[in-house]
């Protein structure tokens, strides 16, 4: 009850605030940036006579007898046919048009964000697993390298890392924006995931390792069959937080001109002038992705809880 009241008051406050600055809401402008419909004209490729018109429900096939011999079949939407049988056409005359649906910039931006987060998530997980294992290794060199990596990444801002990765490493290795973006995000996430994995492994009681080793299992077999599966379960909640952060942090790659959701939003604003609506929409889209992610983890956690 109280919650509902607070939410209503909050909404009323928002409404009042926008009234004061005299902002006119134009939500109807937003959907076209998700999907839009366009009609593309179909034109005669050369001078020709219309040989026949075959209408099949929504689609119509117009057969042209070309001047320089030969036939050409054109497909157009039935309600757009602009010619009659026997008519003579010049090259470039419109026969009809075909309508089709396209993804708008927001949808494409959302896709880029998901794609970017997914690939950098995989990269981060791989890097984090290797680094996490190195952090607990007995080998001094491996341990040192892993600590250095984690400290370097955690001690510098992601934005700066993205610039360095794109302008320095990207130039040296001739990487595309997308690869540089995925690389920077993956390396950033990897450092945090390494710490999560290290803590997860160290939280498994020593007795588990001893039991596995006393059965004759090697270090690797023990890690793969006994320690990691248990550590995975324990690290799920912090891991979920890390992946959610990754999705949100991916908005920073718009600074190296990757057209992700955030950059698409900025572009849409320049053409629609619906600043507030678009930013709210972009925020909602991020929210949808991140809550789907936490739902997935929640489901995984419940499935893994059967052995408790």
């Amino acid at each position: 009850m109280l919650l509902a009241l607070i939410l209503v008051l909050f909404a009323a406050g928002m409404w009042g605030a926008t009234k004061r600055i005299d902002y006119s809401w134009r939500w109807q402008r937003v959907p076209q940036y998700f999907f839009y419909h366009s009609q593309d004209a179909v034109k005669a490729p050369a001078d020709a006579t219309v040989a026949s018109i075959v209408r099949k429900q929504d689609r119509t096939t117009v057969v042209l007898a070309l001047e320089n011999a030969g036939r050409e079949e054109l497909h157009v939407d039935s309600d757009t046919v602009a010619v009659t049988a026997g008519a003579e056409l010049f090259e470039g005359d419109t026969v009809g048009s075909v309508g089709s649906w396209h993804f708008g910039p927001l949808t494409r931006g959302l896709w880029v964000t998901i794609y970017l987060s997914f690939l950098s998530g995989i990269l981060g997980l791989a890097l984090g697993l290797v680094t996490g294992l190195c952090r607990i290794s007995r080998n001094f060199t491996l341990r040192g390298l892993a600590s250095l990596y984690v400290e370097l990444i955690r001690g510098t801002p992601l934005l700066v890392q993205i610039f360095i990765f794109y302008f320095f490493i990207g130039t040296v290795l001739d990487l595309s924006r997308m690869v540089a973006g995925i690389g920077a995000l993956g390396i950033f996430a990897g450092a945090y995931i390494a710490e999560i994995i290290r803590a997860g492994i160290q939280s498994i009681p020593r007795g588990q390792t001893e039991a596995a080793r006393s059965l004759g299992m090697s270090k690797t077999q023990t890690m793969v069959h006994i320690i990691l599966p248990q550590a995975f379960k324990r690290t799920l909640p912090p891991m979920a937080g890390q992946f959610i952060s990754l999705v949100k942090d991916s908005s920073l790659v718009s600074v190296i001109a990757i057209t992700d959701l955030t950059k698409s939003g900025r572009e849409v604003i320049t053409s629609s002038f619906a600043t507030f609506e678009v930013w709210f929409t972009v925020a909602a889209l991020y929210l949808v992705v991140t809550s789907l992610l936490s739902q997935l983890v929640f489901y995984l956690e419940r499935r893994l809880a059967i052995s408790d």
Partner: protein, 244 residues
Amino acid sequence: MIKARNVEKIFTGRGQVVRAVDDVSTDVRKGEVVVIIGPSGSGKSTFLRCLNGLETFDAGHIEIDGMDLADRKTDLNRVRAEVGMVFQQFNLFPHKTVLENITLAQQVVRRRDRAAAEEKARKLLKKVGIAEKESEYPSRLSGGQQQRVAIARALAMDPKIMLFDEPTSALDPEMVGEVLDVMKQLAREGMTMVVVTHEMGFAREVADRVLFMDSGKLLEEGDPEHFFTSPREDRTKLFLSQVL
């Protein structure tokens, strides 16, 4: 089967040096049941853990079925596959079912196929008396049941020697019997066993030989009859008067 010569294990920490195992020598013949008793901190568990390489030792030699544990070239995994170990805290794998607990090492270490491993596991579960629990997770079992699964898990590797590290110490009193019964049956079948325990009744009934350890030293050894009725050392007498 087991040959231990002048084994020494030193723990250092916080500026202190502790001789956890101090110059221990003993032999265990095939089929023999040896029980190690002694006060807490006497090094008996540490010595036991040296026998399958879970604990390294600083001096001396241990030979298990002809394999020298002090030799760096010895593959410890191979030694451990031949030496089953049962822990005080059971240490079952909580993310695997009872059946999977018993089949895993058979498959990855002994390279048995799944069907053979499961058949073996079911046979052993029947032997330890919990055949009906095969698809349960360990957390759903009582302590006594968990410990019996742990014994079955070790036996599944067809070990030549079984080591028991205070297998009943973490159990509620009413469950001690069911675990000891399984161990007695094993002893009757001729398994070579080394058991660290506080169960004097078990030592008396099943042991072929009893070792008494205190402050890392092997103070006295003998057959249980002699050991419990007329111990030689004063320290042994004191200990026995406290626990019996």
